[in-house]
Subunit: 244 residues, 2 copies
Amino acid sequence: MCATRQYPRPHDFLRQHAEAAGQGPVDLPDVSGLVVGVLGGTGDQGRGLAYRLARAGQKVIIGSRAADRAQTAADELGLGVEGADNAECARRSDIVIIAVPWEGHAKTLEALREDLAGKLVVDCVNPLGFDKQGAYALQVEEGSAAQQAAALLPDSRVTAAFHHLSAVLLQDESIDEIDTDVMVLGESRADTDLVQALAARIPGMRGVFAGRLRNAHQVESLVANLISTNRRYKAHAGLRVTDV
Amino acid sequence: MCATRQYPRPHDFLRQHAEAAGQGPVDLPDVSGLVVGVLGGTGDQGRGLAYRLARAGQKVIIGSRAADRAQTAADELGLGVEGADNAECARRSDIVIIAVPWEGHAKTLEALREDLAGKLVVDCVNPLGFDKQGAYALQVEEGSAAQQAAALLPDSRVTAAFHHLSAVLLQDESIDEIDTDVMVLGESRADTDLVQALAARIPGMRGVFAGRLRNAHQVESLVANLISTNRRYKAHAGLRVTDV
């Protein structure tokens, strides 16, 4: 027999597990009214996330260095998505997803320290290098992109999530469900619950708590392995966490 | 709608994907006649793997520093499992799984360099530290446990796999299927195919190629995240790779 598994909706599975563990029901917070900014929203990953969240009914603002490029990307997506320069995008959003290229990560965040103060920041950047053998993990002085964000943004609540998503699948309008779990990392339960709830807005997707930021490096770097898997199997690999 | 996914058997899914990609059928090699040694087979992870492989019909030899301890563990498992000291276990096996504690990893392998010459070595060691906040990834000078093994065993074929398995589930005799994929890393397609075929011997389990050894660190370290997930959800989390 091969393994067959049905993935319940996040709320159901969290409640089930919490009840089994004698903790009583767990409800993820309602994030449907929050504004989500996507810095780097003109790139493939950011644009894909913006599309999926907007399609799920979330208010989304795409941020870019140039406001007109952000506006163009927003107009292409429709669904009520707006475009703005990075600073305005940060200021107007409750939750800000960082989807900029690794090369611009530190510089972008340093410049936005005040605009991101008090915000829930979700870093989804994967510091990778590429050569003819494929992708490999880069060493990051702070340990990971997420830890670098936390160091540069002392007045923000920094989490990490959305690393293992295929930009191709995210942007494919013919696909209704994104068949993957999202590992969510952070220091505060309240913050990781919000990010899990945001992930759960996208059909097929679950947010699963996967540790503190000190363990973000391997989650970010694992994208190098998924790239190898994709090459071997001509796939768009994602991950499901079993038994939760 | 929640996502429902049925996982085909490895041979089927590999063939399907290879055919879809125009590569023709792919058959994983037949490993049923190979002897599998498990160094560190008296520990929870090693014992669990030894049990599952023997239960699947594989000839298994448990290795330990002390032959009598290996023999005791083997007798407890039954299923034709034998026990031997590490050197004899290595010499008599075709495939040797390294499941020793990280603390003894380098020293154990150094001493077995000749016994492991020519063997297919499968490193499943996770270099982790623990403190009151849980588990975290250790820095390894060679990059990862698997790369350390490759450096110490120049005459062996070193791969990495079986990192994300729950020793509790592996050892639970009431469980028939292990609901997880096994990320398999290595430099040679022939070797990783053999390890994938070995993983596929265990019902419910698939071996999925996930890159070269230079990308082993994050696969080993991800166990720290699964430990955090397990604590939060009172679970024995594993991973499935989607879209392959």
